[in-house]
Amino acid sequence: MSDYRYEQLIEDLRGDYRPQREWGEGKGILMVIGHFLVGVAGGTWVMSSIYGETYGLMVAYLLGALGALVHLLFLGRPERAIKMMRHVRTSWISRGFVGLSLFLAGGGAYLAMLWLSPGQEGAPVMLARLVAGVGTITIIGYMGFCYTASKAIPFWHSPLHPAIYIAFAVRGGIAVLLVIAAATGTQSGAWLLQLWTGVTAVVALLFAFEIHGALSSGNIAAKWSVRDMLSGRLALSFYGGTLALGLIVPAVLLSASMSPSPVVMALIGIASAGGDFFMKLSTVKAGVYLPLLLPSRR
């Protein structure tokens, strides 16, 4: 622990509202990057499977593998990672680890079979797709539940969090497909853009509900987190990254031309994915521990 981090910890412990800094700051940024990559990987696999986009499947697999690596780098003792399979009964991290393993195993096998004998449909192909599919669903879902299970952080401890993470994964998948479509010209850009608009509307609505829920019925720590995000230490990341980069830039690009060029489509995809990263960074860093106070009635 550096002198700065030590001093910061002491200062945090003295305050009423202690921000969590383990996920999102220092080496903890790897956790956010890992969740972002794995979420986008899951969304891309789903969207590519629906549209039969082989390049998308390959990109999803690479993103998933990179996400797994980043997750390992985050751990204090990565050499023990295999032990994370032990507690699937109650731990969402354990379930996520199993899901990511299934995704990488099934996805890798499926892509290998696709490469070795294109167009082949048989039991091994179906099995690989099934295993990858189960892994995909798990990795899309587990992240939100990891946060919801965090009883110490009231802002995350919301039933909407999993839905938001699932919606962001789908949006990330569409963003990647937009970039691929721009590069290869294999997909209908107009249809993807319509889909992106619809999913973005759902994401924005869910996020607005979560903020409203925290402000109206959340406890004091949840309200503090929202204040930090909207007008405090994370305002730049939220307004600049999540809103401007992730929403306004793509919306302006989209409205500027009736039939966007491949370059515009790629820019929309990149900006959208960038915004998603900042949304995850903002919400993770906004986490504030439940303050330790005596109950008013005692």
Binding site: R80, W156, L290
Partner: protein, 201 residues
């Protein structure tokens, strides 16, 4: 048997004896406090009041840290003690996010109290038990309990504000205090079944 602790806030005088005796007992590195004393204020002018609030792991009966741990490193030991198996912990820190009492610490780097001067012989002797890259927390001094002693923070409380015992025994001192003086928990709404009780100041 379910071990528990009662902290009498009327007796606590904020001497930090619990915090220091815990550090001495466990040799925890800088930035790690299994036991802490918080200073809070209650009420408004002209009747404000300073509250001294000693906090530590609540060894919850329904511990969320145990549920979220992917490796079963966080586990229930004997008599309801919640402990961490350092050889299983991967350092994911999910337990830190799950604990409503935020009394867990991640040991990310070996650090000494006297900086460049290096570790003292005492630190060298004690730091062996604290590997880097894992989460640490209070275990109610299991080694002391095995020898029939009270936890260090209880034994060294000058004001005798802390009482330790079996919560399942209706005749124990802790049960009597909770019953007679309406002992309460911090954050009962979290539903974790904490086993640390407080008596009103």
């Amino acid at each position: 048997m379910r071990l528990g602790m009662v902290i009498d806030l009327k007796r606590c005088m904020g001497c930090y004896g619990c915090q220091m005796s815990c550090k001495a007992e466990h040799g925890t590195p800088p930035g790690v406090f299994f036991a802490r004393v918080l200073k809070r204020e209650e009420g408004h002018y002209p009747m404000p009041r300073r509250i001294l609030l000693p906090v530590l792991c609540n060894h919850c009966s329904d511990a969320p840290c145990v549920d979220v741990c992917p490796t079963e490193a966080s586990h229930f030991a004997e008599h309801g003690i919640v402990d961490i198996d350092k050889d299983k912990c991967v350092g994911c820190r999910a337990c830190m996010m799950a604990c409503p009492y935020n009394n867990r610490y991640f040991h990310d780097e070996r650090r000494h109290y006297f900086g460049d001067a290096g570790p003292t012989p005492y630190e060298e002797a004690r730091s062996e038990r604290h590997p880097v890259g894992v989460v640490m927390k209070c275990n109610w001094c299991r080694e002391r309990l095995a020898e029939g002693k009270d936890p260090a923070c209880v034994a060294n409380c000058a004001a005798k504000a802390r009482t330790f015992g079996d919560l399942e025994d209706p005749n124990s001192e802790v049960s009597r205090l909770i019953k007679e003086r309406s002992g309460f928990n911090l954050h009962p709404e979290a539903g974790t079944g904490p086993n640390v009780y407080y008596l009103a100041p």
